[in-house]
């Protein structure tokens, strides 16, 4: 089994077929991969926008309660995903605040994006913030001195802090795409709709089909590896 697992892990990046017959068709596997990527990439993109903005605001400005905000962000990195799932479920449930105003979000991908956003945003914010704060004041002073606008200064800082920021985004992605607790609760693991790699793994394991569960796990690892490689390349080198 180990050999076939390795073969699949290596193959899944290429277009070679899976070596093991899944209990459901190939199309279903691709759909699971698609849902996983769709949910986690959107969640991470939104989290990155949010996280970078907050990291800049908190990193560059001094204001009363700043250290409290930082403590809050750092605490958010440790939110248990099941608890986040429950809170999001109550928010999107037809009885909850979002349901009351007419959104039907429960058991949808949008609800899963929301819960992964809550999970990933603190991680991305926290790590980016640390990177931004770490940028030598001299760099920013120099940017000012050379006549840069606030935007130029911010861009210079981001460039200096980019390795830390990319690490933050990758950590956020890792947290989002690999968690099972919250997407299972708010998504419901509906076949073809809200079934992700992690909830499919959980389902396979529940039914004692450990081999398929492990193969899906290998696909997940290969995907994360691939995304890591791409992002690091875009980000311009080693971290």
């Amino acid at each position: 089994m180990v050999e076939s697992l390795l073969a699949v892990a290596v193959d899944s990046g290429v277009s070679s077929p899976l070596l093991v017959d899944f209990p459901y068709g190939r199309g279903a596997v691709w759909n699971i991969v698609y849902v996983s990527l769709y949910v986690s990439l959107i969640a991470v993109a939104l989290s990155s926008l949010f996280g970078l903005t907050v990291a800049m605001l908190v990193g560059f400005n001094d204001f009363p309660g700043r250290s409290f905000v930082i403590a809050l962000i750092n605490t958010g990195m440790g939110f248990p995903s099941v608890v986040v799932g429950l809170v999001v479920l109550f928010a999107v449930s037809s009885e909850g605040p979002l349901g009351q105003i007419g959104f039907t979000l429960v058991f949808t991908r949008e609800a899963m994006i929301l819960s992964q956003f809550v999970l990933a945003a603190p991680v991305i914010t926290g790590i980016s913030l640390a990177a931004v704060i770490d940028v030598d004041d001299g760099v920013r002073d120099a940017a000012y001195a050379m006549g840069g606008t606030r935007l130029d200064v911010a861009l210079t800082t981001v460039r200096q802090a980019r390795y830390g920021i990319i690490t933050g985004i990758l950590a956020g992605l890792g947290r989002a795409i690999s968690e099972v607790g919250s997407v299972l609760i708010v998504g419901g693991n509906i076949e073809g709709q809200t079934r992700t790699l992690t909830t499919a793994i959980q389902l396979e394991a529940r039914q004692g089909r450990f081999e398929f569960a492990l193969i899906l796990g290998a696909i997940l690892v290969a995907l994360v590896l691939l995304i890591n490689g791409l992002l690091l390349k875009v980000g311009g080198g080693r971290v």
């Binding site: 007419g102 039907t104 429960v106 058991f107 949808t108 419901g188 529940r206």
Partner: protein, 307 residues
């Protein structure tokens, strides 16, 4: 599910959607397609109906006949009913009459039907340390397990199977606890896996899940049979289906839920359930159709009219 949201935005409630359906039929005669085409029914159910594969069979046939998709969310009976209580599902298919009665009694469910049954069995390791193999009474078996403190793995998840297990412990007046009694809080398949990985342990299982997973469970044997194999009536496992009350949650897709109930309790539904097998064995026995219907299926078991 996008379709659902689309519906919510355009239609709002089932009533409005229905009205829209009638309206569009007048104006759009060139397309004789029904409005329920493309609608989605959300069904919460137990892991046993889902993991055995029965539901995908039933739902495919329903989809073919009505053109409406079924989103199935597999939870325990307790969680499935709770989702219905919040109005997040349109219909609930579960197997714990006591919990279903609470659900109906509180007004959350209407139009309950008996659907099908199978039975519970007690499975255990080959070497049978508690010596319960072949016992006629499940109560004796449970007493023996507790007396010998043989490892027993409990669902512990407020599911239908867990509710049944607690009923049996109550019947023998034992409050299980200690090293040997493991409350796992997980699904039926996981409990069976755990019993298997344990090198064999006792557990109460529904027959369907055990049969459909049997090929992975070589350490386990059936020790006490249920009523299907002439075991005690206490181990019967009836499944019911209930629509969520549109009077409490006016956004639920009630008409489609009733269509689904109608479908699974029809001759065609009966045939699908009857002919569904795993490892050559029939898993579920339909009981919806009867010449003399059991009126008690529509109301909580202890319900009496006011007047």
């Amino acid at each position: 599910m996008d379709r659902r949201r689309f519906l919510t935005l355009t239609g709002g409630s089932v009533a409005t959607a229905l009205a829209g359906c009638l309206g569009s039929d007048d104006t759009n005669e060139s397309e004789p397609t029904a409005e329920i085409l493309g609608e989605t029914l959300t069904l919460t159910t137990t892991t046993s109906t889902y993991d055995t594969g029965l539901l995908s069979e039933v739902n495919d046939a329903f989809e073919k006949r009505f053109g409406a998709a079924v989103d199935t969310v597999a939870q325990g009976t307790g969680a499935a009913l709770e989702t219905g209580r919040r109005g997040d599902s349109d219909i609930v298919m579960v197997h714990a009459r006591r919990l279903e009665d609470d659900f109906i009694g509180e007004g959350y469910g209407v139009n309950r039907r008996d659907l099908m049954f199978n039975d519970f069995i007690v499975v255990g390791p080959d070497d049978d340390p508690a010596g319960i193999d072949g016992m006629d009474e499940v109560t004796d078996a449970f007493t023996a397990i507790a007396d010998t403190e043989a490892v027993f793995i409990s669902r512990g998840d407020n599911s239908g199977t867990h509710a049944k297990e607690l009923d049996i412990w109550e019947a023998v007046d034992i409050d299980p606890g200690g090293e040997w009694y493991r409350e796992t809080g997980s699904g039926m398949g996981e409990v069976l896996n755990q019993a298997q990985l344990e090198g064999g342990a006792y557990a109460l299982s529904d027959r369907a899940t055990f049969i459909s997973q049997r090929s992975e469970l070589d350490e386990l044997d059936i020790c006490v049979e249920g009523p299907i194999e002439d075991g005690p009536e206490l181990l019967s496992n009836p499944y019911g289906i209930v629509a969520v009350n549109p009077g409490v949650h006016d956004h639920v897709n009630y008409d489609l839920a009733i269509a689904y109930i109608g479908f699974v309790t029809s001759r065609q539904g009966e045939e699908i359930i009857e002919s569904y097998t795993a490892a050559g064995e029939q898993l579920f026995f339909p009981e919806a159709i009867a010449e003399n219907p059991n009126f008690q299926q529509y109301v909580p078991e202890d319900w009496v009219p006011d007047s």
